[in-house]
């Protein structure tokens, strides 16, 4: 006779610590080469995770699609994510079967930009009105790049264009280019402009390939930007790991925003070849809120990229998740109204966030909704998302938006 089954083994890790100990100690953490990945890079390299018994394995990815695929396959446990990407997977937009996803926390607010080519600058297309005229006159449609079909950059770009009466699905052609390749595409003349995270806007200016037409914070001051995303299965299987991860990143976020000196050294760290891999000179100014648009205008921004804001940045507000769903609906990427509130409540991990923040004495807002007034004067407070999605002069509700394949 045989004994293929071995006697039951006690969990070798059970004794390590109390019940709060992370179930999984090594976390594979994906990120894209963008300055708004800073809190992940700082948490992983500057000793913020060890006290929680975690090792953060940073893994730079070449595309958002890669991040999505690896999260689903479990090759990444959590990642720097786009709101639109997390919700698109959760809702099954783009042909794949829906997979329950989770937003553990916000990673950053503000700091993206819409940039146009130097050729457009030379022909005087340097403001929204001129762009609007140019779009109506020229025969060939302008080609504007964003970073993912359902991603935040697509939605910022669409929102901004529509606010100036330019229909993003009819008046221009949009396509997807990975953020770190934007400048090369501008140089090759394959695109006329792009919306992406930094440092790629600043780098386009440095290389004299383009100029910044608008910042994302001019669309919505202190808008939600990147999030820490994972599958819902990960949170359910490793709740302690998920909470410890949020705590480590919260502490790193607080550290970055604590002083100008910390910000400066963070900019130096993330410039490294393993991380953003771009010159410090391209990263640092905008990282410190010092903007220069490539047209000779310079200013200290009132709503620059930020990571903490006393926890304001990190709270996974339901209204933030709802807003992205309304925009996916507005542009026809969602063909029907989802059960907005139920989906946001499921995806936004507010209770886990509350536990993590409370343990660190970080203020947790009372409400899971927040309100804002956007560039076109429209007010968003999380109420009545279905009505909000239909409230815009320009939308794609009646046509089926083309889903370009992510690269």
């Amino acid at each position: 006779m045989t004994h293929p089954n071995t006697p039951p083994r006690p969990d070798l890790l059970a004794w390590v610590a109390g019940s709060d100990a992370p179930e999984k100690r090594v976390v594979n953490l994906g990120f894209m080469a963008l300055t708004d990945a800073a809190s992940l890079i700082v948490a992983a390299t500057q000793g913020f995770a060890q006290p929680y018994g975690l090792t953060l394995n940073l893994q730079r990815q070449t595309s958002w699609s890669n991040i999505r695929d690896k999260l689903i396959k479990g090759e990444l446990d959590a990642a720097h994510g786009l709101y639109g990407l997390i919700y698109a997977v959760h809702l099954g937009i783009g042909g794949s079967a829906p997979i329950d996803m989770a937003v553990l926390m916000g990673l950053a607010q503000n700091g993206q930009s819409i940039n146009l080519s130097s050729a457009l600058k030379t022909s005087g297309v340097t403001d929204p009105e001129a762009l609007s005229r140019c779009v109506r006159q020229s025969g060939a449609k302008l080609v504007l790049a964003q970073t993912f079909p359902t991603g935040t950059h697509a939605l910022w770009l669409y929102y901004w264009l529509a606010a100036y009466g330019i229909h993003p699905l009819k008046d221009v052609r949009t396509l997807v280019v990975p953020p770190s390749q934007m400048v090369a595409h501008l140089r090759a003349g394959r695109i006329d402009g792009f919306c992406a995270g930094e440092p790629w806007g600043a780098q386009a200016i440095r290389e004299d390939m383009g100029f910044t037409l608008a910042t994302s914070q001019s669309i919505w001051p202190d808008h939600p930007e990147k999030v820490l995303g994972c599958t819902r299965a990960f949170v359910e299987q490793y709740p302690n790991t998920a909470r410890a991860l949020v705590m480590a990143i919260l502490e790193a976020s607080r550290f970055i925003d604590e002083s100008q000196e910390n910000r400066r050294s963070t900019a130096q760290l993330i410039a490294g070849s393993h991380y953003v891999d771009a010159p410090v000179a391209a990263i640092e100014p905008r990282f410190l809120g010092q903007y220069e648009d490539g047209l000779g205008r310079a200013w200290q921004d009132e709503h620059p990229l930020r990571f903490f804001g006393n926890g304001e940045v990190n709270m996974p507000y339901h209204s933030d998740g709802l807003w992205f769903m309304t925009q996916l609906r507005r542009w026809g990427l969602l063909r029907e109204d989802p059960d907005y509130l139920a989906v946001a409540q499921k995806v936004q991990q507010t209770s886990l966030y509350r536990d993590a923040a409370t343990a660190l004495n970080i203020a947790v807002p009372d409400s899971v909704m927040r309100s804002a007034v956007l560039m076109d004067g429209s007010r968003w407070d999380g109420s009545d998302p279905a009505v909000y999605a239909r409230s815009f002069a320009l939308d794609g509700l009646t046509e089926t938006a083309a889903l370009s394949e992510p690269s």
Binding site: T2, H3, N5, T6, L13, T45, Q46, G53, T55, A271
Partner: protein, 192 residues
């Protein structure tokens, strides 16, 4: 198809076992005698499972294989005609992934090997987790040590010491642990 390396270097007849493995759908590569070449053979063949007789002198060589190929370890399954459960338990505790008794029918082999491989993978994962925990503890201690030294040198508090170390690390694109090691090394030099 899964590839099984069957190490056949004892007088025991493995004819039936080999036939059973092949019948169960495995690709069987048989090695006999030349235990001295075993590490290279394992490297060249890259089997999914290694099957070896409990009495094989090659077991010590396999130990070496296990050590050498630590980066890409493979499950090792024992076969024997001794169905003593105690011996099996001991072998499994010692790191063997499963235990096969000669004379087994083909249809029972595949589930055993499947279990062996699954078990092996989970063992590897646990080992990696334990290793990570040890590494974290060591790093934490070294960082603490360096922080203490810095607090003394700069007469500053704990938080300031951490911030100084982190700023130093970040502006040089290093990890905190690297700066901690530099502080410890410098401190040892100055103490001498």
């Amino acid at each position: 198809m899964l590839r099984v390396l069957l190490i056949d270097d004892t007088p025991r007849k493995v004819g039936r076992l080999r036939a059973a493995l092949m019948e169960a759908g495995f690709e069987v590569i048989e090695e006999s005698g030349l235990t001295i070449d075993l590490p290279e053979r394992v490297e060249a063949i890259r089997p999914d499972v290694v099957l070896i007789d409990t009495d094989s002198p090659g077991r010590d060589v396999m130990e070496q294989v296990v050590m050498v190929s630590r980066d890409q370890p493979r499950p090792i399954v024992m076969f024997t005609d001794d169905d003593n459960p105690d011996a099996m338990r001991k072998a499994i505790r010692a790191g063997v992934s499963a235990y096969i008794v000669e004379g087994i029918q083909a249809q029972r082999l595949k589930p055993i090997l499947d279990v062996a491989m699954a078990r092996f993978e989970s063992d590897q994962a646990i080992r990696a987790q334990l290793q990570a925990r040890d590494q974290q503890l060591i790093e934490r201690k070294r960082i603490e040590l360096a922080k203490g030294m810095l607090m003394k040198m700069k007469s500053c508090n704990e938080e300031d010491a951490y911030t100084l170390m982190r700023r130093q690390a970040m502006s040089r694109q290093q990890k905190l642990i690297q700066v901690a090691e530099q502080i410890i090394a410098m401190n040892e030099l100055l103490d001498r």
